[in-house]
């Protein structure tokens, strides 16, 4: 492989990762916008998705079943958690503390059930192998993930910006009190938004698991990345998080190539630096 094809492959890897990251973060962006809470357990939903794929494979139910079942279950789990633990009647600090506890609970349950080692998830048989592209070969599965992620992202953007449902979500984000006053059921919106956010993270967890494996530390490691995306991109809108996700995907792909050891330190330092200078994020508006 020549130098430029390596760069191209690396850049494609980054693109896949960027879109997966966007799938995870979009749910967080909406829930942080609506619930106004920092959901520390969002990375855990992503991890639950990945382990659902492991579990389904162990039960001989296959990957596609996991792709359907995990988001459905996580929708219910997320929605119910929101209504019971994280409803608007709780104080902000209590919500934060509760999501932090949930993060620990999921971590420990995963360790209890699956052990500390990372578990591989096999690629579904239809999508195994590589495809011949001009100058290099690329795994089919990664292209599949890319296509699905682009599709879901586009769908999400259209739903949020073009449909009545999206308008309701945006209204609750912008002004919950006013939204309630004009007859929007904000409780229901919170339930649905949180459920969809959890389901999206679970979906991303399943679909990314053949690439990135299921790993008990993934909730913690993905957490900071998704917060970087949401905080720098601003919540409420999805265009901001999309741009940041894709940017982060590229930075990650090339950072790991050139400074494998220190990339993550640099990334966190830059993130903290940006937020210190611009607390509203890169694309957010000043309050």
């Amino acid at each position: 492989m020549s130098g430029s094809t390596i760069l191209l492959v690396q850049s494609l890897h980054g693109l896949v990762y960027g879109f997966v990251l966007f799938l995870i973060s979009s749910g967080l962006a909406v829930t942080m916008g609506i619930l106004r809470i920092t959901n520390v357990a969002h990375g855990s939903f992503y991890m639950m998705g990945a382990y659902a794929a492991v579990l389904m494979a162990a039960w001989q139910l296959g990957f596609w079943a996991a792709l359907l079942v995990a988001p459905a279950i996580l929708f219910a789990v997320g929605g119910v958690l929101e209504r019971t633990l994280l409803s608007e009647h709780r104080s902000h600090f209590h919500q934060l503390l509760l999501t932090f506890c949930l993060f620990f609970i999921v971590n420990e349950l995963v360790l209890l059930g699956f052990g500390a080692a990372a578990l591989p998830v096999s690629t579904p048989s239809v999508l195994q192998g590589s495809i011949e592209l001009p100058g290099f070969t690329y795994p089919v599965y990664r292209l599949f993930v890319l296509a699905v992620a682009i599709l879901v992202s586009a769908l999400l953007l259209v739903v949020i910006s073009r449909t009545k449902m999206g308008a309701i979500v945006r209204a609750v984000v912008a002004d919950p009190g006013m939204a309630e006053a004009v007859g929007i059921n904000t409780g229901m919106t919170r339930f649905a938004a949180f459920g969809v956010g959890a389901a999206l993270a679970g979906f991303a967890g399943v679909i990314a698991s053949p690439i990135y494996q299921a790993d008990p530390t993934m909730a913690a490691t993905s957490l900071l990345n998704m917060f970087i995306v949401v905080i720098l991109g601003g919540f409420g809108s999805l265009a901001g998080p999309l741009i940041i996700s894709l940017l982060l995907g590229q930075l990650q792909a090339f950072g790991i190539m050139y400074i494998p050891n220190y990339f993550i330190i640099l990334q966190l330092a830059v993130f903290i630096g940006i937020l210190v200078i611009r607390p509203q994020g890169l694309l957010g508006e000043a309050q």
Binding site: T38, S91, F93, L96, F100, C101, F104, L111, L268
Partner: protein, 327 residues
């Protein structure tokens, strides 16, 4: 009455060094430094309204500084190493507070978490200094106490007594701080930041002072931890210590400055019992934390308050946060 109570507790604490044996004395030492760590967390949470998910940052910095200085400068007196370690944590705490002084609520929690993760990866990757995942052995001589003949105390007893003195000094310093004008202003800032600013207080400066103080006390706890454990690994910067400290603060009660000590007692006893049964004892700690937040947000201290109200001797209460304003 209050003074008598404090004296009784202090004398009992000193006597523990001679009553308790081996393993139990070591548990008591752990209770002391973890309690101090939880108090420093609660100091920031209750008096400044700042919830730090990276409170172990300066705790770990002090522990690492202690181990690194001890390894690099052989023959240095252990107290001098301790002072350097605490100074290092104070410096990091001060720099961190300058960075985060404008943040509040979820943002503050998150940024402190990111800051602590940054330190975690530094500890992992700067192998030459920290020996990465292997961690650093803490090679120091057991501190000697003044006025005590050499060899009169066992290692465990010396470490316990040094820990006890450090904890008492820190607690007294925090209590004293709250009585100074800037300490009173701190309470005002938490109650109503806008009014404090309106009255001409320099709110960011007050916040920087309180954050640095809290970080430094956490640093003292981290130094004691390194002295006691004899090994420092990147795990000090992971999520586990801050989860533990939050549990201790919640269990003890966040509305009183020193109630987290009761939480530390509960935590250590739970850990000691549960760790013998399952290696996943943190699951039970996390579940208990949820129960505490939902059903006993005031912790054990609220039970004490309830009893003292029933018996007609009201305790001292700092009003818990009206946290919804912070959102």
């Amino acid at each position: 009455m209050r003074t008598v109570g404090i004296f009784v507790v202090l004398i009992a604490a000193v006597l523990f060094a001679f009553i308790l044996e081996g393993g139990r004395l070591r548990l008591a030492t752990e209770i002391l430094y973890l309690g101090l760590f939880a108090v420093s967390f609660n100091f920031l949470f209750n008096y400044m309204g700042l919830l730090s998910f990276g409170h172990n940052a300066t705790y770990g910095v002090a522990a690492y500084a202690f181990a690194i200085v001890a390894a690099r400068i052989p023959g240095m007196p252990v107290y001098a190493i301790g002072v350097i370690a605490v100074a290092a944590s104070a410096l990091i705490g001060f720099l961190g507070s300058l960075l985060f002084v404008r943040l509040k609520g979820g943002y503050f929690a998150l940024m402190t978490m990111a800051f602590c993760q940054l330190l975690f990866f530094c500890a992992l990757k700067f192998y030459g200094l920290t020996r990465g995942e292997d961690g650093l052995m803490v090679l120091v001589q057991t501190p000697e106490l003044p006025f005590v003949p050499e060899g009169a105390l066992s290692n465990d007893q010396s470490i316990y007594l040094v820990t006890l003195v450090a904890v008492i000094v820190c607690c007294a310093a925090l209590q004293w701080f709250l009585l100074t004008p800037i300490g009173r202003a701190t309470i005002l800032v938490k109650a109503n930041e806008e009014r404090a600013r309106f009255l001409g207080y320099n709110v960011p400066a007050i916040k920087v002072v309180v954050m640095t103080l809290s970080a430094t006390v956490a640093g003292v706890a981290g130094t004691l931890f390194a002295l006691f454990q004899g090994l420092v690994s990147p795990g000090v910067f992971s999520f586990a210590p801050v989860g533990d400290v939050i549990f201790m603060a919640l269990l003890g009660g966040t509305s009183s400055l020193f109630a987290p000590f009761a939480g530390a007692v509960g935590f250590i006893l739970l850990e000691d019992t549960l760790a013998g049964i399952t290696s996943h004892w943190r699951l039970i700690i996390a579940l208990l934390s949820i129960v505490l937040v939902l059903y006993l947000p005031g912790g054990l201290y609220s039970i004490y308050l309830w009893i003292s109200r029933r018996t007609g001797k009201p305790g001292v209460e700092v009003k818990p946060l009206d946290a919804r304003k912070e959102a």
